[in-house]
Symmetry: none
Subunit: 188 residues, 4 copies
DNA sequence: TATGAATGAGCATTCATTCAT
DNA sequence: AATGAATGAATGCTCATTCAT
């Protein structure tokens, strides 16, 4: 794999951005190269094929791109003292990212829901990390006894629910309610 | 709109059932008339077009069909004394329906995630009914103060999370944890 | 594999005929569904895809179709007493088929030259049968000592040479010369 | 037409060599500028277009290049006393060239079989020269009476047959059998 | 009602070629 | 002279839908 030139990188980034916008705006099933090219201002869908081996690679890159930016964003806002605080920080960071990058999160969830992302398990890291945090909080006595894997599913599902309805919900309220509900459901 | 004959109704039901199986088995994006016809044992995709105006109508009918059966199932298991009990009954009924009709629920969620269902608000009734229940529970002093619409989003999202991962989770554990978490998050 | 209807069979035959004409007229590499559809008077290349799984299947069917008709034609003209007579009959039958079905033979050779025909060895039967005949003639003392496999290659190559230049050669002369040359090269 | 610089000539030769290797390795139909560039170690297919007006010119040059080297090779091994010896020398030289330059011969035949080479008759010189030799041999009484043009087609076709199957045949045997068969078919 | 053949728009992808650098 | 990005036409193929029977 040769190093990509600056121009190449810029074009790929432009196409990835257009793909995110397209997936967020249209249904995943309606997202075609034609629609992406139109949004990116490209003269030909051939240019997408020129920069990406095939549609699967583009989807994978979009997925990995959002995931990386999401994780960087969230990790930068975590690192709190206790598990309860850490969990709260995780939720607040999620909502903050959603506020700033709604299209990215929507596209991310739609890809995960629809496509078999070929990412070697990276996609599940979200869940694993949260389950681990919950387990550690239990061992520290901060959380009550519950199944950490199932609770991680619940927490992420609530986050996803907010993302998918973020068009019609007040995110300030959502953040407050989410933090409160999760805290009540998990504290010892 | 003429009344549908018995044969007509039977054919439509057969196609709807095949569509549900197809959507649950394949990705929504991979669900074609050809795949549905194969699963229904039909000799031609033309028959689907004959019985449904277009693909959108079929999707709408599938959606409404599952929703109606789901609501009947759940309503038959509700009607408890208090709001807390009612909420618990709702959750238990949801998991029970999932246990018996996993493909229906998966198809339902996939349609809602992907397609712009043209149902004039029916799709939201799930949410509205739950929000109403939560509000009533608050008025009765059984639930703490929270935004009922947001909490309804949370509860339904948790249920959806269980549905989408029901292939790899123990539903007994899920039910128990779901009831506990929701109770803790809502009780006054 | 269901039985094919009469209409289906007719359409497939029509498309096969158009494919043969196209391959014989154009280069193999230039033979597209569009060119075939134009020659068959079809309104859409989609119809070819409707009747054949993919291009490879069409090519295989064309190949097998010509091969079968060729073999039937040749076999009906063989069955002579001795090996020398049999060999002569084979050559005469080949030229006769060429006279009546030049496009078929040209298409056949072009497919064999270019495509990896997926026919499970049928394609080589031509060679094998001829080599066997030569061997039997040697055992009967009618042919001199030579490598039957190599001689079979020679004989078929001469036949192919005539086919490919049949546009500018007198087939009567070719037949006479071919019979004479092969006889001289093989008799004991 | 300007004279080509040394660098230009070297590049063209490099591309021609890569094209020969590609055509011999892949099917003619699979030979793309991309495949040729990869085999030549070029960074861009644009370079091929820079050095050759279009694909047809490249194919023509490849064809003429192999033809010239083939003819030089064969001519250097001919010049025998009689026509029978000359014909034998021609065949031996052909097999010798094949032994040393199999890819070149395969590429040559594939181009001739598939593409309409625009060479103003150069391609036929092979045939013409052989036919002339045969005619002279007849006049000298060394060959029997046959149509020289048709016999030339036969001889070249046998040679081509060996080329196309040279992967699975023993060339020593082929040479011996070819010389013997042609001699028997032509001598008076 | 039901069939299956037909339609034509749409898809992702490959290709030779052009062009600015 | 060389690069690699860009172009747009062409490819095989799938799709929902129509239509004659």
């Amino acid at each position: 794999m040769r190093a990509k030139s600056v121009t190449e990188q810029a074009r790929r980034a432009q196409i990835v951005a257009a793909a995110i916008a397209t997936i967020a705006e249209l249904d995943y099933a309606e997202t075609s190269f034609k629609a992406i090219a139109a949004r990116a201002g490209l003269s030909s869908t051939g240019l997408i094929s020129y920069h990406f081996k095939n549609k699967q690679e583009l989807v994978d890159v979009v997925f990995a791109d959002v995931l990386e930016r999401f994780q960087d964003f969230v990790n930068a806002r975590m690192g709190q003292a206790g598990a309860r605080e850490e969990l709260r920080a995780f939720l607040v960071a999620n909502i903050a990212f959603l506020r700033e990058h709604r299209a990215d999160m929507v596209a991310f969830l739609r890809i995960r829901a629809n496509a078999a992302v070929t990412d070697g398990g990276i996609a599940a890291s979200d869940h694993t990390a949260l389950a681990t945090l919950l387990r550690q909080g239990q061992e520290a006595g901060e959380f009550r006894a519950f199944d950490p894997d199932v609770m991680a599913v619940f927490v992420l599902a609530m986050r996803n629910g907010v993302v998918l309805r973020s068009g019609s919900l007040d995110l300030d309220v959502c953040e407050q309610e989410l933090v409160a509900a999760v805290d009540l459901a998990t504290r010892s």
